[in-house]
């Protein structure tokens, strides 16, 4: 694998680290199985691409993309909390609705951004000779800042209340936590991160496409599961770190699998590989336990 291909895998891995952090908040911290991601990821991309194409600042475009994502998460949470619609179903409804909304926002199934300004553009030379290095570097900074901000948030009074809401809502209420509000704001935060990833993604890919969200949730979940399998911990700063490592590792494994000619895999096999990888990561802890039992382990 060439260094450029490696950096390309790293770049997408970093973007999906944001998705994975969002999935971590909904699935693990709030215990809210949320499939909105497949709609909020392209939503962030559509909003950002439309704003950038309209001549707006790319950072501003990212911010509005994230805001739009927050709104979609809020709708999913509201459908569940206020209208008592099953979590999974509520998120599927929003995801489907977003497909139409994303088409409306872009006015077309796709929107090219070739030659438009991006958040990476100021750091890239005129001949684009260093873009393969600059894009992952900028993304890495964004990820590190996001991780630290999340760690600080979940160590705060409100963050702790949010974690309690997911772990034991009845106890949280007994301690005076407005659990409904926590679910609403947590889901907004989760989907804001996922939409921000979408907004950055369109800027690395040179355009937005309405179908770019397919499988987002599976990739995010894969990263979370790989992370917690490799680095099991209850400390939140370790969990966020593991999630980011999981996302990077996932993309690297995919890149290796697709690049190894002797295996004979092609790009269209991506979803199959993902499913196999997630499946493997899910059974790995059980296999480990079984193995240690057979080896006469004391566990």
């Amino acid at each position: 694998m060439t260094p450029i291909a490696l950096m390309g895998a790293l770049e997408i891995g970093l973007i999906f680290a944001l998705v994975a952090l969002g999935v971590l908040i909904s699935f693990r911290i709030l215990d809210f199985p949320d499939l909105t991601a497949d709609g909020s990821f392209p939503l962030g991309g559509a909003v950002a691409a439309t704003l950038i194409a309209g001549g707006h600042d790319p950072w501003l475009a990212c911010a509005f993309g994230a805001l739009a994502g927050a709104a979609s998460g809020l709708v999913t949470a509201w459908l569940h909390v206020r209208l008592n619609i099953l979590q999974l179903l509520a998120s599927i409804l929003v995801m489907i609705a977003l497909y139409s909304i994303n088409l409306r926002i872009m006015g077309a199934p796709n929107m090219p951004l070739i030659g438009s300004p991006t958040v990476f553009a100021p750091f890239i030379g005129e001949a684009l000779e260093n873009s393969w290095l600059v894009q992952p570097a900028v993304l890495a900074v964004i990820i590190v800042v996001t991780k630290i901000a999340l760690d600080l948030f979940f160590a705060s009074q409100t963050g702790l209340a949010m974690r309690a809401t997911g772990a034991n809502p009845r106890m949280a209420r007994a301690q005076g936590v407005a659990t409904e509000r926590m679910v609403l704001s947590g889901m907004a935060l989760s989907n804001a991160l996922i939409a921000l990833a979408g907004a950055l993604y369109v800027q690395t890919q040179g355009g937005a496409d309405v179908s770019m969200g397919v499988g987002t949730i599976v990739v995010g979940l894969a990263a979370v599961i790989i992370g917690e399998t490799l680095l099991p911990s209850r400390k939140l700063w370790v969990i966020t770190l593991a999630t980011i490592i999981g996302a990077l590792l996932y993309r690297l494994l995919i890149a290796v699998a697709l690049n190894a000619d002797f295996i004979g895999l092609q790009a269209q096999d991506l979803n199959l590989i993902t499913a196999l990888l997630v499946g493997f990561a899910l059974v790995l802890p059980k296999l480990k336990a079984k193995f240690s039992r057979k080896a006469g382990g004391k566990h």
Binding site: F153, A155, S156, Q157, T158, G159, L160, A161, R163, A164, A167, N168, R170, M171, A172, R173, A174, Q175, G176, V177, A178, T179, R234
Partner: protein, 264 residues
Amino acid sequence: MLRADNLFKTFNPGTPIENPVLRGLSLTIESGQFVTVIGSNGAGKSTLLNAISGDLFVDRGSLHIDEQDVTRVPAWQRAGMVARVFQDPMAGTCEGLSIEENMALAWHRGRSRGFGRAIRVEQRELFRDKLAMLKLGLENRLADRIDLLSGGQRQAVSLLMASLQPSRILLLDEHTAALDPKTAAFVLELTDRIVQENKLTAMMVTHSMRQALDHGHRTVMLHQGRVVLDVSGDERKQMQVSDLLAMFEKTRGEQIDDDALLLG
């Protein structure tokens, strides 16, 4: 002070499994009073506690805490007034969070939560001092996950958590029922100590008539969603478990007679 007036609550109304649990229950508890509550299964003990905590709303009647009408106030808004220890040790603490994180959650009960650090140095000191009172060695395990503790240890921590902030009433829902006799005795002794030290108004539901008479200032018996016995002072001091048991049988016996009359 807690005042419950004529509370009614029916589960599954209008269905074949309709179940009227509270049927005009009235009860007033003065500030600083420790009341024990007994009654058979289905007498309405847990429903009464859930109604006071706000976990469920009554169909009719009113609830006042210190002259404030809380009948329609949701549980999380009442939390500043009502502290609670659950029967299930798992229910009162938050699995996956550490001991100090659980205590920090309780330390903020009834207070607004911002974006400041949940656990500051002085709080950690306070938690350590409080845990040291238990003499269980937990003061050295602040960062341990709470689900590593035994049921008794978790109930003891739950009690501490309930006393970290002032409350108008402390609700104890058979909080020793899931423990072995020795641990139960320890948790009960701790309960008495915490209630006395903080001069708490408390309500303890129990299945044990012995416990009901040995602890607190007043004993109330519920039957079919109403208060059927209310003893305190000298009358209660002279009371034996056998007396209580006789009264218990009597109320149930009367009920059977009533049914017999109806069927006849």
